[in-house]
């Protein structure tokens, strides 16, 4: 009888060992889970995971200073990209209004974009894009990365009537937009592309911009050449 009792005892002990061990581990994990749920971090791993997980956001580069952000916001609002406006593009006078600064200062805001921008150069009195123009435009537009806004700032050289040049720079901006619509099936295009046509009256480019990516020939970079253009660039700013 004692032999049977001993056997039963040994059997119970042997059976209880795995039961208690496994049960204890599960209960321990449950307690840790409850602590994590309650906000008490209990392990390095949990602490690491409890840290802020980055959320996907548009880029916001260091050059997005207060002035650029202000200009950006005002231009986008006046051009109808922000809010419920239906307007597309801005008149030169409006551009002056939104950019209450000198043309030089206005251009200086875009200097940090030298690696992101391009200057699409047109022939005299023309708003047609040739092969070099479209190649450069496509290349720059495709390189959006995290940028939220694509700026097209069209200009004209000071030759001719100011009114004519305003219309010409508008046509140049429109030509860029048309090309983007044709080449890129981007449903966000109307929310991304901000256009300005400055004509000849405001923020003319100086020859320092000749070193930037241009579609014009190397020897075609006199002030009148480089201002028969559309300056295009993605702006890595969040508003």
């Amino acid at each position: 009888m004692s032999s049977i009792a001993l056997r039963v005892g040994v059997g119970i002990v042997c059976a209880v060992i795995p039961t208690f061990m496994a049960g204890g581990w599960v209960r321990g994990a449950g307690k840790r889970l409850a602590k994590i749920e309650a906000g008490e971090v209990v392990s390095d791993e949990a602490e690491a995971e409890a840290g802020d997980v980055a959320i996907a956001t548009a880029a916001d580069e260091g050059y997005c200073n207060g002035d650029l952000r202000k200009i950006l916001r005002r231009v986008l609002q006046s051009c109808g990209l922000l809010g419920s406006g239906e307007v597309r593009g801005c008149q030169p006078l409006q551009a002056k209004n939104v950019a209450t600064m000198t043309g030089e200062d206005f251009n200086a805001l875009f200097l940090p974009l030298s690696q992101r921008a391009g200057i699409i150069q047109f022939d005299k009195d023309s708003s047609e894009l040739d092969q070099q123009d479209t190649a450069l435009l496509d290349k720059i537009f495709a390189d959006q990365r995290g940028a939220s806004y694509f700026f097209v700032v069209a200009r004209s050289s000071p030759e001719g009537e100011a009114e004519h040049n305003r219309e010409l720079s508008q046509k140049r901006a429109d030509a860029v937009m048309t090309r983007l619509r044709t080449a890129f099936n981007d449903p966000d295009l109307d929310r991304e592309v901000g256009m300005l046509w400055l004509g000849e009256e405001y923020a003319q480019l100086d020859t320092n911009f000749c070193a930037w990516s241009r579609s014009g020939a190397t020897d075609k970079c006199k002030p009148k050449d480089i201002n028969r253009s559309a300056f295009v660039a993605w702006i890595d700013c969040r508003l």
């Binding site: 059976a15 039961t19 994990a29 840790r32 791993e45 548009a58 990365r145 995290g146 890129f184």
Partner: protein, 419 residues
């Protein structure tokens, strides 16, 4: 003095081997059970039971692979993580240790029959070891030291039990025994089977009974504001249009994505989904949201996937997006290493494997489509993390993408009333 008590030495060896097997099985079960807090933990992966190894060590990889494989546990759709296969192993070793001790305490014919049935039952862990070892080698192509410890202990148990049985069979007839009081073989078999069932079943019941309620976590990790794809950024991963719509955010060179893909396929639950991929390469060549190239070459490979997708939609033939993904998963270690050394390597490797795609990769069109894919992530404010799976717009919690995958995904599908 083995000669005076037949088979005693062998039975003692059986007991010791069972203790060793129990120790290894316990370590494995402990490693599994500690993950029930839904966190990531280091594993014990050593021939010395209990010695901890770092998860990133090469030798721990085999243990990691086997632990996370669908073969490491059973009832995975009913229980979070399933019941680890090492838990019944603990019960079996405890049972065999008990039977060996019991045999030691018997005499005559009772010892002979007890030793014979011990020998028969000792094949249970050996057969299980053969099956699990074959799966590890053939299916998982991984060797886990803790598992090898269990296999070894199983083998020693069988050998020692066989020798004990042989010793008892040859000598016990000379001993005085009362054959009439000894149970028949049928009784031995039934009692043994019942004991084995109890030794295995009771710990399993305790394990399940003490588990937290994981159903409360299902579907609580956020959702997409919408699953529309107006920009055409998504890549269809299957043609199962009747499945529950699912969006998978992944990086083709991300090891976790590859492992997740394998687990999902092994679970069979992918057949209930209609998966579309949003490519999210963790490579600063195209992705401004990461610092540095976490997975060098991922942007180029993502472009190749989009190229294949566009080409197969337009003209048919040529490599499909899935073919490129499959290749990228297989070769991802090589692609990452090669691109780290030479930034143009990924494009070259794509060209070598899929010459049809060479002219497409790097073009403005495909770069823009990839960018739109990244901007989709921005528009939907998703975490910078891969992989992510959204079932019907509801996110599968990151903590449930490994051991809890089958349970949580089944829960998500059932919540949606998916067949």
């Amino acid at each position: 003095m083995a000669g005076s008590v037949p088979g005693r030495l062998h039975l003692v060896i059986v007991v010791i081997a069972c203790i060793v097997g129990l120790a290894f099985a316990s370590v494995s079960t402990f490693d599994f059970a500690q993950h029930l807090d839904r966190q990531v933990h280091d594993l014990h992966c050593s021939f010395i039971p209990g010695q901890r190894t770092n998860a990133i060590d090469g030798e721990a990889v085999g243990c990691q692979v086997t632990l996370m494989s669908p073969y490491s546990s059973v009832f995975r759709t009913r229980v979070w993580g399933g019941i680890p296969i090492s838990l019944p192993a603990m019960g079996v070793f405890a049972f065999l240790a008990f039977r060996a001790l019991d045999t030691l305490g018997r005499r005559g014919l009772a010892r002979r029959r007890s030793a014979a049935w011990l020998f028969i039952f000792s094949f249970v862990p050996l057969l299980a070891s053969i099956v699990m070892g074959a799966i590890a080698l053939v299916e998982l192509e991984a060797a886990c030291k803790v598992c090898i410890g269990i296999y070894g202990a199983s083998l020693v148990v069988v050998l020692a039990a066989g020798l004990a049985h042989a010793s008892c069979r040859h000598t016990v007839d000379d001993e005085d025994s009362s054959a009439s009081s000894v149970p028949t073989n049928g009784v031995w078999a039934m009692v043994g089977a019942a004991q084995l069932g109890a030794f295995v079943g009771i710990p399993m019941l305790a394990y399940v009974g003490m588990m937290p309620d994981y159903s409360r976590y299902v579907g609580t990790c956020g959702r997409l504001p919408d699953t529309a794809d107006p920009g055409g950024v998504m890549v269809a991963l299957d043609i199962n249009a009747a499945g529950t719509p699912a969006v998978e955010v992944f990086d083709p060179l991300c090891p976790a994505c590859r492992a997740f893909d394998k687990r999902l396929a092994a679970s069979g639950l992918d057949a209930r989904l209609h998966r579309r991929a949003v490519l999210f390469p963790l490579d600063d060549t195209c992705n401004w949201m990461v610092e540095g190239a976490v997975h060098p070459g991922a942007c180029t490979i993502s472009e190749a996937i989009l190229c294949a997708d566009a080409a197969s939609q337009k003209v048919g033939g040529g490599p499909t997006a899935n073919m490129v993904i499959e290749w990228a998963f297989e070769a991802q270690d090589n692609i990452r290493a090669a691109t780290k050394a030479d930034p143009t390597a990924a494009k070259r490797l794509v060209g070598e494997r899929f010459p049809e795609l060479a002219s497409c990769v790097g073009t403005a069109e495909v770069q823009q489509r990839l960018n739109k894919s990244l901007r989709w992530a921005v528009a939907h404010s998703i975490p910078v993390l891969t992989p992510q799976l959204y079932v019907g717009g509801v996110k599968l919690c990151p903590e449930d993408t490994d051991l809890g995958l089958e349970y949580s995904l089944t829960g998500l599908l059932e919540k949606r009333g998916s067949p």
